[in-house]
Amino acid sequence: MGETTQIKTVCGYCGTGCGLVLDIVDNQIVKIRGDKAAPVNKGQTCVKGGFAYKYVHAPSRIKSPLIRKEGKLVQATWEEAYNLIADRLSSIKNDFGPESITMFACARTTNESNYITQKFMRTAIGSNNIDGCNRT
């Protein structure tokens, strides 16, 4: 077993924003504690934030792009996936206009990724058809 390193971060479940300290061994999260220095939770965690972290290392994570071929999703390279999406989006935009394309953003990802998501939609696509799961 390798050395334990500690990383401070913020919980990814609900909107409370609890500060956490993660113990990392051999590139795996092995333990999570509430960060005592965190202004929101002062060291506390709930059962989800403290223990429901193994999904990060789950074998069922998707590890490469998938493309539908003859009805089935099969493994593909990023190059193939990008080309397919770019071709289809371009032709849909050409034929039906930017309003025929919509994006659902993610309320779980970072501010930075969300900024890029809406920038992508408003520049590369040219539409304001962007919304999130904030209504569900």
Partner: protein
Amino acid sequence: MGSNTTEAHPIIGNKIKKAAKSGLKVIVVDPRRIDIVKSAHRHLQIDVGSDIALMNAMMHVIIKEGLYDEQFILQHTDEFEKLKNQVELYTPEFATHITGLSTEDIIETAREYANAEKSMIAYTLGITEHHCGVNNVFDIANLALLTGQIGRLGTGIMPLRGQNNVQGAGDMGCLPNQLTGAASIADEEYRKRFETTWNIEISAKIGDTQTRTFERIGEGEVKALYIIGENPLLADVHMNHTRELLKKLDLLVVQDIFLTETAEYADVVLPAKSWGEVDGTYTNTDRRIQRVRKAVEAAPDVKEDWEILCELSTRLGYPMQYENSEDIWNEVRMLAWEMYGGISYERLEKEYSIHYPCPNEGHPGTKILHAGFHREEVGGKVSSFVPVEYTSPLELPDEDYPFTLTTGRRLESYNTHSQTRFYADGVKIRQKEETVDIHPEDAVRLGILDGSLVKVSSRRGELKVKAKITEQVVPGLVFMSFHWSEVPTNVLTLNEFDPISGTAEYKACAVQVEPVLDQ
């Protein structure tokens, strides 16, 4: 109001429980006898969807007894007469018939809310997930304005956000009507600022909400849908309908960490990095910006959300390139400087969290958003009361479907459960599968035993699920969560939406519950 705090926001629940022990008066408004009721000074166990009748009656009492803040109303509000007229009809006696509450409880709650030195209303999806969700929120704001319970420490309106960065996603501009910094897309000057930096013309046409998107897919107008980290098939109302719509698309792209139920219908699935594998910031429920940090290396062929979009954008003819998340954040700070200008990564390292608005490096951040209400400014902006009328849930129980189904979350699970399936070893989980929570009186009447299989059906679909007999619900009301794909509760729910927000009426639909005899 409408917040199962100890299960959906456990740490906020802990704070409320602790404060209750030191004398904070907690009033819980919820149709179920949820855990936080144990810490409550009063539980208003209202009928599902009757919040406006309760609040209008509270305002009726506050006005009639002269408990409102006259000075505050004069200085900071508009349309008080209109509000007065609207709530005139809502006597406590009238509201009793709609809400199922006693007149004493309504009157006492009104007096306590208005008379307390500091009152705060916290709410969650029990308020918003109705066809009248926006009106519910307007009425909360009406109460706060009427009594001046806003803009001071310990007062205000506190929507408890269900997702780690749902506040941030909206603030960043992932909304059809808003640009980064929560400014309207119709604001020409603000749009110009982005057009100059982005070097492209931005459409001023307000885009589609998620709800409207599904309608337009049905009408054949939306051909391509790109979904990031979301599982609408399981999470949205009327699942059988959602499935048909997804199949209609010419192109469905899903970017996620797991092959979700929605991803199964995709033409292309892109593997994204997850929490723990990325750097950046989140915005929490009280507007704090905080740093999230990369803790582990992701698998080699998995990419970060922004990285994927930049590469795709470049291929589509609009090149985007950034060094790292800080590089992106600095663009956000530059463009939406009124909100984030002073919130640098460097400061966040030192200060842990900063509340926006924080326009410059010398600014401490803004802990109380509406403090302006209490400054002696003449000619400032006034806030209008928005009087609203009570409307009953759109599908009421009847002879064929005699129960009201209300839906929500459970402590140990999260949304469509793609992440909370993976707990650390040795954690004892109380609820490992879905149940329909039903009152003992109903269970006895129908011959349903605790843990036995029952059929729950609505006009839109049906499913089989184990019964949990509990006094958390009242007779005639059943409860389910939407966590388990094995029991997809949203085959039952109603596809009716708030006309302004597009939020669906998850909290009320009519169902039938029958024992499954052949078990």
